[in-house]
Every structure is written in C-alpha cells, then in structure tokens.
Symmetry: C2
Subunit: 194 residues, 2 copies
C-alpha cells in the first residue's frame, strides 16, 4: 500500500536496526484518514470472505480495526492484555510473549463475542515475531470461528512472524512489508536497493 | 443522543446500582457504525471551535475519538496508561486514581503531539468520578493548548465527575447522561420516572 509506505518513509523513526517507531500516525498519535484507507485495503484484500467480525488487540490495533469494521458494518472485538488473568471463566485466553518487553501477557476475549458461527478477520498493527497474532489465532480457534486471515499494518519481514503464521495454515496480508532497517533506511520488500 | 440511549437500554448490563457494563458495543466489543454516529455528534456539538487535535485515553476512548478525528480530518492522540512512569522526559503526564480498581495510574502524552498552537477536544468513554478527564485536562493545560471541552459517551450524572470538570471551567458534552441505575433500570436525565 503505497500511501502507507510513503508515510513510513516520511515519519518512521529508526531506533535501531530492528525497531521502527511510527508514533506519529499509528502507535500514539493516530492519523484517522490514513487508518480509514488502511481499513479499506484490508476489506478489499479479504473480499473473498464473508467476514462477520474483526478481532484485534488493544491499543494500537483498535483504530485500523474499527475503520475496517465501519466499512464492512461488522462488530470489532479488542482482546484485552493483562499481566496475568486471575479469572478465566467465560474467557478465551492465550499467552503472548513480548520479545521487546521480555514479558508474558495474557490476552483474552469474552466468550460472548466470538462463536463458531463467525468468520473472523484478525487485525494488528505490527507483525514481528508473530506472538500477538498467534495468540489471536489461538483465541479464534478456541471459539471455533472460521479464520479468514490476519491483516497487518506493518510487517517486519526480516523477523519470523509471517512465516510462523503461514506455517500455521493462516493467510497473512501485510500492507507494508519492511525488508530491512539497516544503514538508517527503511527498505520495503520488492524495492530496488539503490 | 437517542440512538445511543436506545443501545444502552437494550444492551447495557447493570452490575450494581453504580456499575453499568456496555461491553457489547463500547468497552470490549465495539459497534463501529454507532461509534461513527457518536463521532458525528461530538463534531456537531463542538462545531463552534476550530479543533486541531483530539486527545483520548487507551483503550475504550480510541474508537469514538478516531471516528471524530476521521470526520474532522484531524489527528487523534491517545494517552498511554502505566502503573508508574520511570522516564518522564519529553512527556506530559498526570496521575489518575481509579475508584473502581482502587489504584493510581500515570497517563502520559509525548510532547511531540500537543502544543500551545492546538485546540484540543478531549474524548473519553465514561465519566464517573472524573479522574481520567481531569488527568487529560491537566495534560492539555501543561501543553498550553486551548481546550474546546470534554466529550463523553456515557456520563453517570449521579457521580461527581461532570461537576468537577465544570468547576475547573471546562465544558462537558455527554451523549448519554445516566441519572440512576436503581431498581435494575437505567434512567436517563430528563426522562419521566414511570
């Protein structure tokens, strides 16, 4: 998605060769017009499915997921993150390890909001090691829902997440695929190296 | 806002005479079409201001704020919640006490994203004791921004928050004002008692 890549080129900050910060339009400040375009792109890429529900994780997944939900006219559920769950009654839950924060969180969704009659599209902001997306897949599978696939705003293709999800038999659509953050430059998959 | 009140009547769950749960369309599952209507209503109520930025708090404020931002074509910033901030460099931060959870969190916004040139609309999902909204007001004041006011989806008018904010000289617009949750019934301000 060229509009998104252009925004990343203009505003993305490289904190290291592994960390891309996009706080100005996705992770802290949100550009709602861009989020709407991102929502449209997700809807278009998964138009071969009759999606009944979108599932994401708080907090940065909410805006793009809400826009996709608005366009499709379907509800959006955001999984909650907790240090650890004490009550798991009536919840689907999964453990998600964060390599950046070096901690494990539980994510959970109430059993009220996903069922085996749903076809779910899972949306998240970043895909790096894939732990969050695999947690969402786990939750969707517990519910018996059909998984249309995973929609990702920014994929760091030099990390293992996308492969892990595809190996799990789930389709991944990433709107910007970052091949490398080396030499102070964001290089996207398929771009010529200059 | 009649559409919202009707949704609360239909789907709100009364957990006690003080707690109204609206997990099916606002706090866990989101109804994006309703959120868009809520965004429109906020924009209409604050149309006398030239709003340059919307500020909210993760996670439940994000969807209604993003929709208002989409309609106005302005950025949305969501304050982050943390148990306690270790680094406060380059952040505006405020302490927010939660009466429900009996704990204090820090909320913070990067100094990159609000300035004294902004006119901000502060949006949140619920207004009860007003601590979160007062925290947002504090942050906006630190930045020197002009505060257009506070837009609230659901106000519990039998608690003190709305009064506290008005006493601070800030305008509050709440789209549904709950007068009472007694006798297993949601009664809105201005409604006839049957």
């Amino acid at each position: 998605m060229e509009l998104l890549k252009e925004k990343i080129r203009q505003e993305g900050k490289l904190l290291s060769e592994e960390v891309l910060k996009v706080d100005s339009f996705l992770n802290h400040q949100i550009d709602p017009v861009l989020m709407y375009e991102i929502g449209k792109e997700f809807v278009s890429r998964f138009s071969d499915h009759n999606i009944t529900k979108i599932v994401t994780i708080e907090s940065s997944g909410i805006a793009p997921a809400a826009m996709a939900g608005l366009i499709l006219g379907v509800p959006v559920v955001f999984a909650r993150k907790r240090k650890s769950l004490t009550l798991t009654d009536h919840l689907y839950s999964a453990k998600v390890y964060s390599f950046t924060k070096k901690e494990t969180n539980d994510i959970s969704v109430s059993k009220d909001f996903i069922s085996n009659e749903d076809t779910v599209l899972l949306i998240d902001d970043f895909l790096a090691n894939g732990q969050a997306a695999l947690g969402l897949i786990d939750i969707a599978q517990q519910s018996g829902a059909t998984i249309a696939g995973v929609g990702i705003v920014i994929e760091k293709s030099f990390q293992t997440g996308a492969d892990l999800i595809r190996q799990a038999g789930v389709r991944v659509e990433s709107l910007a695929e970052v091949q490398s953050l080396q030499n102070g430059k964001v290089q996207f998959v398929g771009e010529e190296t200059i």
